[in-house]
């Protein structure tokens, strides 16, 4: 596989005594890949495994040919957790500067990142006083620092207005066009059409993988939501996908 950025084989994760992922295999390539599935299906758990902060019971996760979370990857993978994961009592710029310093980047990198998420006007605002959407964009700006080779974003567009969502998806595509693989999770099916590739997930398993057109075509469905339902009913009826 030429441009496989993330390769996962037989991944098993147990959380709270319950297997959340069990024998999961998946390969993620370049472009913008959407990880879609209902709440609680294991999206965050999978993304945490890819960035190397999830304790794993079995299986292998490799990123750019190296074990997930290993030292050479730590300035090459950008990660936004599902919460904003910034310091509420620091200003926007102080947050960015701090993470830039940890990554060994010059202070100018902080301002570039802020400009990319359109927050330059709020650079001196204290992060805790921003709106939820603005705060999550600060988190996104941190993930963008230093032009990572892989960007892992856990529900970055939740709670944002349609204009901003459209702008962010355009940003993800610009980043992907510049050579960064982007993996974005969402539980909103209507974001599916904006992705180059899709991973549909349910109850800890990847139930479909392909371009939006391929997945719709395989089920003869008009939209991803109907395709998802068709696959789920097929699985319930015993057909493998």
């Amino acid at each position: 596989m030429m441009n496989s950025v993330v390769v996962i084989e037989g991944l098993r994760v147990v959380r709270g005594g319950r297997p959340v992922l069990d024998g999961l295999d998946v390969v993620v390539g370049a472009g913008v890949t959407g990880l879609l599935g209902p709440s609680g299906c294991g999206k965050s758990t999978l993304l945490r495994s890819i960035v190397g902060v999830q304790r794993v019971a079995a299986g292998t996760v490799s990123v750019l040919g190296k074990p997930a979370g290993s030292a050479p990857l730590r300035d090459r993978v950008g990660y936004q957790t599902q919460s904003a994961s910034t310091y509420d009592d620091l200003t926007v710029l102080e947050n960015l500067r701090f993470f830039a310093r940890v990554l060994g980047l010059p202070p100018a990198a902080a301002e570039e990142s802020l400009a990319a998420v359109d927050l330059t006007g709020h650079r001196d605002a204290v992060a805790g006083r921003l709106s939820g959407g603005q705060r999550s964009r600060v988190g996104l700006a941190v993930a963008l620092l230093g032009t990572p080779a892989l960007l892992v974003l856990d529900e970055p567009t939740v709670g944002l207005d349609p204009v901003l969502r459209r702008d962010l998806w355009a940003l993800f595509h610009r980043i992907a066009d510049a050579g960064t693989a982007v993996l974005v999770s969402s539980h909103v099916m209507d974001e599916a059409e904006r992705c180059d590739a899709l991973l549909l997930m349910r109850e800890g398993r990847i139930i479909a993988h392909g371009t939006p057109a391929e997945i719709k075509g395989s089920q003869g469905a008009d939209d991803i939501e109907s395709a998802f339902l068709a696959i789920v009913e097929g699985v319930a009826g015993g057909d493998a996908v």
């Binding site: 902060v53 999830q54 304790r55 300035d75």
Partner: protein, 244 residues
């Protein structure tokens, strides 16, 4: 460990503190006020103040730093910032030492203020050199920070973190010689007191108050620092890059 990252963590913690005026007041002003309150309580019995005053100079920095550190690190765990940092080139020791460095710096200011008030305004009678009062204060504060970092691994919420105060700190205060001198404790309790770190911090202050010789003070400071290093090592062991 990378000095650049350690320093970045320390500077960030100090920037956060500068924003938080109430916490800053608790760290710097409150120990002085409590000291003054005590002086007032014992105004008619100044000999008692001379006995308890030095012990309190050891207890306040320990107590306050333990509280502030255990809660701030817990906030890092629950707020996702620690998880984010662990995906970056930050070592566990960078995180722990960054905190110890930041709170150590605050402790130096706190100890200087508290010692200045106690000696300058409240006429605390001290035989040993005044500077050592600050040295012991910083060692105590770093000990509190290190223990706070360690116990925060065992709390899930800020509410649980506060509960470590009566569980971990109060017994040490009761046994450290403040209430009953150590050699008049029941034998078992005296043995227990001898293996608790705060005992040695208080012991250092008491030597400073009663003697011009500094040998015992440096020995006690050495013991306190050794406890702090052990707590940092335990903290590093409980700080996990990968969590459940």
């Amino acid at each position: 460990m990378t000095p650049r990252v350690t320093l970045a963590v320390a500077v960030r913690v100090l920037t956060q503190l500068r924003r938080d005026h109430r916490t800053l007041a608790m760290l710097l002003v409150l120990p002085c006020l409590l000291q003054a309150l005590l002086w007032w309580i014992f105004q008619d019995t100044p000999l008692v103040f001379d006995r308890i005053g030095p012990a309190l100079l050891a207890i306040f920095p320990f107590f306050v730093m333990f509280l502030v550190t255990s809660i701030t690190t817990l906030r890092e765990r629950s707020g996702g910032t620690l998880e984010r940092l662990f995906t970056m080139p930050m070592g566990r020791l960078d995180f722990l030492c960054g905190y110890a460095l930041a709170f150590g710096a605050v402790a130096a200011v706190q100890a200087a203020l508290a010692a200045g008030v106690a000696i300058g305004l409240l006429d605390l009678d001290l035989r040993g050199p005044d500077v050592l009062l600050v040295v012991v204060g910083v060692a105590d504060a770093v000990l509190g920070t290190a223990l706070g970092l360690f116990v925060s691994a065992f709390a899930r919420t800020e509410f649980q973190a506060v509960q470590f105060l009566p569980a971990v700190v109060v017994p040490q205060i009761l046994l450290c010689g403040l209430i009953v001198p150590r050699d008049r404790l029941p034998e078992v309790l005296e043995t227990v007191a001898n293996v608790l770190p705060l005992t040695w911090a208080v012991d250092a202050m008491e030597h400073l108050a009663t003697s011009t010789r500094t040998g015992e003070v440096w020995r006690d400071v050495g013991i306190v620092v050794a406890f702090a290093l052990a707590a940092l090592a335990l903290g590093a062991a409980t700080l996990r890059r990968r969590t459940d």
